[in-house]
């Protein structure tokens, strides 16, 4: 079953065509790797799907429904993501930053917001500590009382991923999730991705490290100068002439 389908996405700014008609689909329970050199438009594409940027033309569908609206409403439609530069609240603890994913999932409508507010004032909501702890432990994170501003870049990536997992997404988009992460962390991420896939979540993985992508992904695509030049199973891609030329040229 197709989870994410992008059709003919175009985006230009300042007279430069950043994306010129990108189309691809990611199935539920599939890891889809998107590779390409820096500046190929990978992050722009992810921002457009996530709602952080607007696009000029094209359609994005999630589970068959057109994805529109602001960032938060897309998150409620089942989208979660991490950022190339981890985005966390530096003054909050790791635990609170991870719990943000839970907060987002449970505070969609105005009604939920008001109920959550009143419950909070009455000190009736014990933040579901167990869920947060489990998500953190699964990703080899510990000492969750530390300030997010005081931990390493790699740990912040794990915090972001834990936060995204708590949203229980239908599609998760990861922007270079391995860079700066230690060996334990990488193993934990790979493990988490396999569990997600088994659960039927679609995973869009962006990286310029093709070795990692080919090891993990089920299918992949190569983005160059705003266009998808090669797409298919990993084996097919690796056999493709264009892919090999650009891949070899890029590394």
């Amino acid at each position: 079953m197709t989870a994410l389908r992008c059709t003919d996405i175009r985006k230009a700014y300042g007279g430069v065509d950043v994306l010129q008609g990108v189309g691809f689909a990611v199935s539920a329970g599939e890891i889809f790797g998107l590779c390409g050199a820096n500046g190929a438009g990978k992050t722009t594409l992810m921002d457009i799907i996530g709602g952080q940027q607007t696009h000029d033309t094209g359609v994005i569908e999630l589970d068959g429904r057109t994805l529109v609206g602001d960032v938060a409403s897309r998150a409620h439609a089942g989208l979660a993501r991490t950022f190339q530069r981890p985005q966390v609240a530096a003054d909050l603890t790791l635990r609170e930053n991870i719990a943000l994913g839970l907060a987002g999932a449970r505070l969609g409508s105005v009604g939920q917001l008001v109920r959550g507010f009143v419950a909070g004032m009455l000190a009736r909501t014990t933040v579901a500590i167990e869920l947060v702890e489990t998500a953190a432990t699964d990703l080899s994170l510990d000492r969750l009382d530390r300030r997010a501003g005081d931990v390493t870049f790699g740990e912040l990536r794990l915090v972001e991923l834990a936060r995204a997992l708590l949203q229980r997404p239908r599609l998760i988009m990861l922007d270079e999730p391995f860079s700066g992460v230690g060996d334990n962390g990488i193993e934990a991420i790979v493990e988490a991705l396999r569990r997600l896939r088994a659960r039927g979540c679609a995973i869009l993985l962006i990286d310029h490290n093709v070795d990692l992508l080919t090891a993990l992904a089920d299918r992949m695509a190569l983005l160059a100068q705003g266009e998808i030049v090669v797409t298919g199973t990993v084996a097919a891609c690796l056999a493709d002439e264009v892919f090999r030329r650009i891949y070899v040229g890029a590394v």
């Binding site: 700014y13 300042g14 940027q53 607007t54 530096a90």
Partner: protein, 288 residues
Amino acid sequence: MELSLLVSCIETGAFYGLVGLGYFLFLRATGVVNFAMGAYVMFAGVAYASFSENPTTSLGLAIICAVSAAVLFAWITEDGILRPMALRVHDEFGAVMAIVALMFVIEQLASLAFGARPLLGRELIEGTAVIGGLAIDFQDLLAVAVTMAIFAVVAIWLKHGRYGRMLRAVGDNEHAARSLGLPVRRVRLVAVLVTGLICGVAGLLAAPQAALSFQSHLSFAILGFIALVLGGVGTPWAPLVGGMLVSAIESASARYIGGFARDYVLLALALTVFSLRPEGLFTIRVRA
């Protein structure tokens, strides 16, 4: 009668525009909407009025003292408050609070130094010109002429001056400007000091028009801000247009609704602009 109303409306508009220009430059340089700026203007105006009250004081000395006070406050804002805070706080609200506190400090300083009584400044030049049967004080002509000159100089400076051009780069993207090796700190400081200078002059021009007190800064800050928001940040001339519009709306509401309606009309105006066209009438297209 109608014509003299028009003259005073233009003059008030020029004053609001000048404060708006101060906002514009400060915002470009630091990314901060500095509503302590009304307090710079007020302090310079009240200082000038207080010094010039004594007929033996030389006007030149009063002018220098008043303008340098405004420049000094601008400098303190940048080097004493905003820059040290930016090193530590990553969100905007620290700056908002510091600006509000600073505004209050300058207000209280003015009331301590010059008293709470409203003061009227001596005219910078005396005499009256008769133009088309209408008597216009030289002071009014001077105020409008100085305002126009300041706008022209700032516009040329931003387009051709060394720091002016760098300021545009800094305002667009401070990180990029820094990595390009531009002297961001110096550019910011120059723009901030120019802002102080403009506010000082605005205070000088306002002081002989109406008696100022230490509380006048709130309306200066608000009206200058609306002038900026109405005009937008697209060109340095935009605050002037915004100032003229604010002044016209203000005097029309005073004439047709009543003097006290000013506060309501301005509130309605600000809310309308915020909700319909927060980017102002003249904007440069910035990529999303």
